[in-house]
Amino acid sequence: MPEPTVIPTTLVSPASTAPPAPAAPLVLKSAAFRAEREASWRELEALVRAAGTRGAAALPPRDLARLPGLYRHAVSSLSVARAISLDRNALEYLESLCARAYLVVYGTRRHLRDAVGDFVLRRFPRAVRAHAPHVAVAAALLVLGGVTGFALTLADAERFYAFVSPEVAQNRGPTSSTDALRDVLYARKGAAEMLTSFAMFLFSHNARIGILAFAVGFAGGVPSALLVFANGLTLGAFAAVYHARGLSLELWAWLLPHGVTELLAIVLCGAAGLALGQALVFPGRDERLRSLAAHGREAAVIVTGAVGLLFVAGLVEGVFRQLVHAVPARYAVAAAFAILWAVYLARAGKERA
């Protein structure tokens, strides 16, 4: 600890040669302030260093109990020091000490495991409910795309190729034979060998598209709306081709068991993108960037949940659909999923009144 300094008072005139009176020493207020508080700053510094990257969780209970008090003490020191001290080093030290302690005190607090449970049980369904209008608009866009694709392809089968890219079509189309079209609905021997990896491929592919639909929502939501609409077009075009051969019932039996979940996820991702677009274009009372940040976080919750839904859909699509061929069973599973998601999204995590 440095000894308090005696500073010659500035009241001595240049003409006076008398030495400054040692009886009335003037220690700088800022130096005295620092001397008084330095020990607690050093203690906080040691705690922050011990916490390292693991945050407050790494501290033993005794230190953890000291942390909030020391942190508030340092923050108040910083406030006072800004008002009374001109010691640049001390100010910078305090600023950085407070910043580091702030990161320990206000870093992500919860354990990952708790966060995941809370997410599934509360955060995700709540975020979806809060965005019900966006979900409705995205669902309407999907249906609109589907109806448009269906009507246009039914009127002129050639349009199928405009709505469905060759990779998605996989040789199915208006020129395929009815038997070939039906075969796709009931995977024959051979295709059943790589079920799990096929499921995982579908999942990662769809999840990428879903995340993309959210990210491009940053451009005013328009690309998200287009993506959802285009998905509807593809679906409608397929439905038209199968409808023309009288295979509608079997097509939907093939599509819906996973489709219920998958289309829901696509609608949710689209809704998240729309919410972003709305936050950016119509920020309401908030500042634009603040509104974007607030809605972006909620939208990210929806998209993360949708990725989880797509995982379920991928499992159903890759495994169940290839193994179960009975049409009534397929419809039963589709209905079960529809009810499950409706109840989950409508009820889970609701505050009891």
Binding site: T5, T10, T53, R54, E95, A299
Partner: protein
């Protein structure tokens, strides 16, 4: 006598209502941290392939399971690597840690899980769309006239290179999450120069108010820097500064440079701090009281 150029700062107001200033992470450091992380992702994925395929070749596990595990794991690692580390290491990934960077909430609250998810879900779009636009413009907007394609490429470029166009180096993900990437703060507490040991001071030197009012806070803090510096140039710098100040103050008296400067520093700081307490901050030597 000039201070180091100010770095980009960003104030974050803590829940206690005290603004804390962070240094914005420079774009170069961000890119370096990203590249490190991408290398690590690649290493993890490669590290998974080898044992899995070894198992498959030996026939211990069915090829289907091996492929499925690989596809799923690669997707999860690529999509959630950043989010996982930023959540469990309080805003740092291995790359950010190496470069001394950190994600913080720009409005001063705790860094929440939603924010971490939001800033990392856009990462793929930000990285891949501009690359796609640059490498295969035709695929982005097939059949469009050249001018529309150019516009699409420019827009995707803006999407990816947004951090270069704003002061706080925010990328799209940061905007959506309300986060900002800052330098990990770190500074050491040095001795208080006004509390120097008696031997280092000139005992019988004093200054008048008029002499002390020549300089302001800026000059005081430059003097602090000069006194704190190390190295061979220190003595020469002290002599030059002392001579300049003596000339300016009209100070006469045989005192060595360092004790003189230390005493002057303490006296000047006392005077300026006293004025500051009375609400009369003197920013620099050009400042005039109105």
């Amino acid at each position: 006598m000039t201070l180091a150029p100010e770095e980009r700062r960003r104030e974050v107001v803590t829940p206690e209502g005290v603004p804390i200033r962070f240094t914005i992470a420079p774009a170069g450091d961000r890119v370096a941290a990203l590249l490190l992380d991408l290398l690590l992702v690649l290493a993890i994925v490669l590290g998974m392939i080898v044992p899995l395929f070894w198992l498959a070749v030996r026939g211990a596990v069915a090829a289907d399971v091996v492929f499925a595990t690989f596809i799923l794991a690669a997707f999860l690692v690529w999509t959630f690597y950043f989010a996982f580390f930023e959540l469990s290491w309080a805003g740092q990934t291995p790359g950010k840690r190496k470069l001394g960077l950190r994600v913080v909430d720009s409005s001063g609250g705790a860094l929440r899980a939603e924010a971490v998810l939001a800033r990392n879900l856009t990462r793929e779009a930000e990285l891949l769309l501009p690359l796609l636009a640059l490498s295969a413009g035709e695929a982005v907007f097939p059949g469009a006239p050249a001018i529309a394609r150019l516009a699409a490429v420019a827009w995707l470029g803006v999407f990816g290179f947004l951090p270069l166009f704003n002061r706080d180096r925010l990328r799209v993900g940061d905007l959506l999450a309300g986060t900002v990437v800052v330098r990990q703060p770190g500074a050491a507490l040095l001795e208080d120069l006004s509390a120097a040991p008696a031997a280092a001071r000139a005992p019988d030197v004093s200054f008048t108010d008029a002499q002390l009012d020549v300089y302001g806070i800026y000059e005081l803090q430059v003097l602090e820097q000069v006194l704190r510096q190390d190295g061979p140039a220190r003595a020469a710098a002290l002599d030059a500064v002392a001579a300049k100040i003596r000339e300016k103050l009209g100070f006469e008296g045989a005192v060595a440079a360092e004790p003189f400067l230390r005493t002057f520093y303490a006296a000047l700081r006392g005077r300026l701090e006293h004025r500051m307490l009375l609400g009369r901050r003197r920013e620099d030597k050009h400042h005039t009281d109105r």
